[in-house]
């Protein structure tokens, strides 16, 4: 098997596995049961999307996608921090009310 064909099959297999991971974390977002579980699954979803972008960059050879992956990692981190603060503030406000 030539190296190019090998890369083709490997990137296809990893895209399938990442799609499965996407579906599983989507199921956790839907069934919850708490807000923190959903935030955690969203955080994992960002990592899965980064993996998707990496695999597609390998398949197409367009490595410009890598910049988008780094921006997505930053966005996911900021979203998780903001949602964690929201969970904390919501709990404190609930105690005071």
């Amino acid at each position: 098997m030539s190296a190019e064909l090998f890369i083709d099959w490997m990137s296809l297999a990893s895209l399938v596995l990442l799609a499965l991971a996407l579906l599983l974390s989507l199921a956790r977002i839907i069934i919850g049961p708490t807000l923190s579980d959903r935030v955690l699954a969203l955080d994992l979803l960002t990592v899965v999307a980064m993996g998707f972008i990496g695999a597609i960059a390998v398949r197409t050879g367009l490595t410009l996608y890598l910049d988008i992956a780094i921006a997505l990692a930053l966005l996911g981190f900021l979203a998780t921090v903001a949602l964690a603060r929201y969970i904390l503030l919501r709990a404190q406000r609930g105690e005071n009310a």
Binding site: S14, L17, V58, L66, I70
Partner: protein, 118 residues
Amino acid sequence: MLHSLALYVGGIVLLAGSLFVLMAAIGVLRLPDLYTRMHAASKAGAVGGGLLLLAVAVLGQDAAIAVRAVIGIVFLLLTTPLSAHLLARASYLAGYKPGSETVADDIAINAEQNSANK
């Protein structure tokens, strides 16, 4: 020869990374409570994402791409533990208790000792 060896290694790293991410997703779906799920997502997720970016660095065959991928890996390894810790602490203080199988609860022990010392 060395060129095609790098391609084979990169393909295997790509597959290993996506397997790690899949394991993280299975853990998030199957584990019993929030804190054990967090353990799956933050460890296996970070390693899986890092391996996928490493595969892009190996397969890119270009120094500029490799540097960008390594920046992405470093960023992922710095921020994933941080966000997991923030989320775990916020959830604990907001009153989400660990599941009944959990035996160690250091925040509760510390809080008891602090109130006893006062």
